[in-house]
């Protein structure tokens, strides 16, 4: 639909000979700063980091104040407690290595307020294969589609986040999906992105298949659905903040995931 609206607007603007864009000066009201919490616990062998920053006013330059005087604790349902330590410019670091099936609870205390989240780590699912397949673009040209295959377990709700790396570095591209309407099937996820421009023969593409929970999926879904909205014009939606799985009025997310990965070498 996005494309169709664009075409209609383009044609109508050709007819009007004079549609235009200009930068305008808007006085926007300020709002009380809110806490922004983002962090993850996983079964992957990496140091868990929780970042805490604050929102700033619309007119300010993009220097986001880091919050360093919060208390950050992650507990599991087996009695483990991990108090995260603040590191300048690097967020809060802990030591928890996640175990699939356990539930992890985040508690952040700051300025007399408490923010909480509790998420169960899903069971990991292995990638069956990663391939490059061809797809026909709108201009009739053949485009490469990086495709990942894996088997969805039947009888339960599953949510996935796929992270793509180029030679071990984050490519910027990602996908996320639920098994809605595909429960128990072999799932095929294709991605096509400008992020792969410049990839050459011999480069390694890595797909990380992260199993996430419903609340994290909802965060990604609403973030994407709301990001393109706003403006008030044709096809715009009412803008809002994405749905956070942290209580207490914080923005952001507490992501608890299990991960498997597979490489694909370009030939």
């Amino acid at each position: 639909m996005k494309k169709s609206k664009l075409i209609i607007l383009s044609i109508l603007s050709i007819l009007s000979f004079a549609s235009c864009e200009k930068v305008i000066d808007l006085k926007l009201d300020n709002t009380d700063p809110r806490l922004v919490i983002s962090g993850a616990i996983s079964d992957a062998d990496s140091i868990p980091i929780i970042k805490i920053t604050q929102t700033i006013d619309y007119n300010e330059p993009n220097n986001f104040p880091e919050i360093q005087d919060a208390t950050v604790v992650v507990r599991d349902d087996f009695g483990g407690a991990d108090t995260f330590q603040a590191r300048s410019r690097q967020g809060y670091r802990g030591v928890t290595l996640g175990v699939p099936g356990r539930t992890y609870s985040l508690a952040v205390f700051h300025d007399g307020k408490e923010y909480n989240s509790s998420v169960k780590m899903p069971i990991p699912i292995a990638i069956d294969s990663v391939n490059i397949e061809a797809i026909t673009g709108f201009g009739g040209e053949e485009l490469p589609l990086l495709t990942t295959y894996f088997q969805d377990p039947k009888g339960e709700k599953n949510y996935y986040y796929l992270n793509y790396l180029i030679n071990g570095e984050n490519s910027g591209d990602f996908s996320f999906l639920s098994d809605d309407l595909r429960d128990g099937e072999e799932i095929q996820v294709g991605t096509i992105s400008d992020d792969y421009e410049g990839v050459e023969i011999g480069d390694t593409l890595t797909v990380q298949l992260q199993c996430i929970d419903a609340s994290m999926y909802e965060y990604y879904r609403t973030l994407e659905a709301l990001e393109s909205g706003g403006g008030g014009g044709l096809g715009s939606t009412t803008p809002d903040n994405p749905v956070s799985n942290i209580t207490g009025g914080a923005l952001g997310y507490f992501k608890v995931f299990s991960q498997t990965e597979k490489d694909f070498i370009i030939q």
């Binding site: 007819l15 004079a18 549609s19 330059p61 609403t222 994407e224 659905a225 008030g232 044709l234 749905v243």
Partner: protein, 682 residues
């Protein structure tokens, strides 16, 4: 009603007879309140975008009626949303009354006889929508002579043929229209736009035949389609079809009957062809509607109307099919069936002296019908219950009583006060992800989760005529309270979602305002000035901390001025000017960072305003030739004559010169647009 009135010339040598069916001071003495009637001759003189005359854009110039946006044919009445208007074409509901995503309406003014808008109390014969009734009637066709009329415009051409089937007994009319906006795409430098297809067409047809003095049959239909495509890879088309078969029977001098069988359909179809795979999505809403109306004239003072109405709704919310070389995939959201019934009675009575009233009662019901699985959802949107029902089995049923009352106290022939109360209910709700509406918006019925929308409106008005009814002025105040209003969770998924009802939030709405109107009816200069001061708010559980917020169509001030001046017999000049407070909108209040990306922070819903909107349009009609049979005229118009850059949308983005800063970019859709069209009749 039984008088034989011929509104057209009988033979060319006879003089034209004009018979007035209404008194000149009708607005003073009638029990109608918040009712606007539009004269098609006037509509044809008012300048509009691209010179395409349009009744939906003209009604937006009336107080209490707001445009859905720049160049848009959608409208809001007294704080209602766009789907709360019942739009009828010869009694058939039109589910999507716009072409090209709202820039043109489905009503080809060549085929339209008259238009009536009820923004306050609609008589009990109408029901099913909360805020207004727009009753559009198609022309019957000339039953004396054949005539061909039409027009050639900047983006569309029209052709209209009418004539007698049997002289004095029956007539027909066929009207067609096609746009050619896509011709311009060939001139675009952008190869993507060159490949684009974009047009719409529509047909209106009507025939009537009088068997004898007591029986008359009318058959009318509409069919329209929009086509939007991009090479062979992408296509979407959508359109309405309606059909009405009406039997008009006169039992005796006092009792009349109208029996109608009405069909209505709206559907869309999306095709995507990627070579290796083909995708198709389609959706439809279809109605069969049987209506029996009686009118009984008990005496000169007393007039009754009563009847019944039964509508069978059949909705395909969405079906997806994917065909590829190695796999096929089909997904169909469960079809929905419902039965909507109503019985009504109303009575108009004139007391001795200056007092007269019209009151009525409508009993409406809505029943979900099987086959299907009916789900219930808890407050979090999780399925809490489901019931399977067989074909024809009744599910959740709602009954509602809708009383209406209008009282008129005529102080003298030039002064009156009126008061009204109306309850309306609505069981079909339009879900839209977009602020402006789109063909893929979804109609859903009341269900276990979605309750009927109910509105209560009270209005009070003062009406005054001057100078032998040449000038009409009026002031109306209204207050409207709306229950079971629907809004969406953030990022709600509406397309192809079996659990779409889990994405909804519910609450209240309230709207109040004052509408001032002054009109000059006769003479070389005529026109009107309207002013509306209003407030429209909503309070939805789960939005804006459950506090009242401005509805997007909340516009504090709205002014419209329409003037038509006959310079000479052949030249008519017209002009409109409108002003309104910008729509309520949510601007970012701050920003934050996550994963090295910057995001905007939003707080209060719709607490900000788009810039004020104002625009002047000018029109000139030059009638070259005018006899009884032949007519030709040129119409010149200028949209946005003083080239105001009105905000169509405002987007926030990174400042390209300084990525650490953010800037607001305003898009203006239509600056000054001249257009020309040629109209003929022979």
């Amino acid at each position: 009603m039984t008088k034989k009135i011929k509104l057209q010339t009988k033979k060319s040598q006879l003089k034209k007879v004009v018979i007035k069916t209404k008194k000149d001071n009708d607005q003073i003495i009638s029990t109608e309140m918040g009712v606007e009637k539009l004269d098609m001759k006037m509509i044809n003189k008012i300048p509009v975008l691209f010179g395409e005359r349009d009744i939906l854009k003209t009604i937006q110039l009336l107080p209490g009626v707001k445009s859905a946006g720049e160049g848009n044919s959608g409208f809001y009445v007294r704080g209602g949303s766009a789907d709360q208007n019942l739009v009828l074409l010869d009694e058939a509901p039109v589910y999507n009354a716009s072409h090209l995503l709202g820039f043109f309406s489905v009503f080809n003014s060549d085929a339209i006889k008259d238009v009536k808008l009820y923004k306050g109390t609609a008589p009990a014969i109408y029901g099913g929508r909360l805020s207004s009734v727009l009753d559009v009637k198609m022309k019957d066709g000339n039953n004396q002579n054949y005539s061909v009329s039409g027009g050639v415009g900047l983006i569309a051409s029209r052709l209209n043929i009418e004539g007698p089937i049997v002289k004095d007994k029956g007539s027909f009319l066929v009207s067609a229209r096609r746009t050619y906006a896509d011709v311009f795409t060939a001139f675009s430098k952008d190869t993507n736009i060159q490949k684009a297809k974009l047009y719409f067409y529509d047909f209106n047809a009507k025939a009537n035949y009088k068997f004898n003095d007591k029986n008359r049959i009318y058959l009318s239909g509409y069919f329209g389609k929009d086509v939007l495509g991009f090479g062979n890879q992408f296509g979407i088309n959508w359109g309405n079809a309606t059909g009405t078969l009406r039997w008009n029977h006169i039992y005796n001098q006092k009792l009349f009957s109208n029996t109608s069988l009405i069909f209505s359909n709206f559907n869309y179809n999306i095709d995507v062809n990627l070579g290796s795979a083909e995708f198709n999505i389609n959706s439809r809403i279809q109605d069969w509607n049987l209506k029996q109306d009686f009118q009984y004239f008990a005496s000169k003072r007393s007039d009754f109307k009563f009847g019944i109405n039964s509508i069978y709704h059949n909705i395909i919310p969405g079906a997806l099919s994917i065909r590829s070389d190695d796999a096929n995939f089909d997904l169909e959201i469960s079809k929905k069936y419902a039965l909507e019934n109503a019985a009504y009675a109303s009575h108009k009575y004139k007391f001795n002296g200056a007092f007269n009233i019209e009151y009525g009662l409508r009993l409406s019901s809505w029943s979900n019908l099987g086959p299907g699985t009916f789900y219930s959802y808890d407050a979090e949107g999780n399925q809490s219950d489901s019931t399977k029902r067989k074909k024809g089995e009744f599910g959740k049923t709602y009954f509602n009583l809708e009383p209406r009352l209008v009282a008129n106290y005529t102080i003298d022939g030039e002064n009156s006060v009126k008061a009204s109360y109306t309850r309306n209910t609505q069981n079909l709700h339009l879900l839209s992800n977009s602020n402006t509406g789109s063909p893929t918006d979804l109609w859903i019925g009341s269900s276990n989760n979605v309750k009927p929308e109910i509105s209560d409106q009270v209005a009070l008005g003062y009406f005054r005529n001057f100078d032998k009814n040449n000038y009409e002025v009026s002031a109306e105040v209204y207050y409207k309270y709306m229950r079971n209003q629907i809004d969406y969770k953030p990022g709600a998924e509406l397309l192809l979602n079996e659990n779409v009802e889990s994405q909804l939030l519910y609450g209240f709405g309230r709207a109040y305002g004052i509408e001032l109107f002054a009109k000059k009816k006769y003479g070389r200069l005529n026109g009107w000035v309207g002013y509306t001061l209003s407030k429209t708010e909503r309070k939805i559980n789960g939005i804006n901390n459950n506090e009242f917020y401005n509805a997007k169509q909340d516009r504090t001030h709205e002014i419209s001025i329409v003037g038509i001046y006959e310079l000479t017999k052949k030249l008519t000049f017209s002009s409109t000017w409108i002003y309104y407070t910008g729509n309520a909108i949510t601007y970012p209040r701050g920003k934050y960072t996550i994963d090295n990306q910057t995001y905007f922070l939003y707080s209060e819903r719709n607490a900000d305003r788009m810039p004020d909107y104002h625009r002047l349009d000018l029109g000139l009609t030059w009638t070259r030739k005018k006899t009884d049979r032949k007519e030709s005229s040129w119409n010149f118009s200028i949209y946005n004559a003083y080239n105001r850059a009105n905000a169509y949308s405002i987007d926030f983005q990174e400042n390209p010169d300084n990525p650490a800063q953010t800037q607001a970019v305003q898009t203006t859709l239509f600056k000054i647009i001249p257009s020309i069209s040629y109209n003929f009749k022979f």
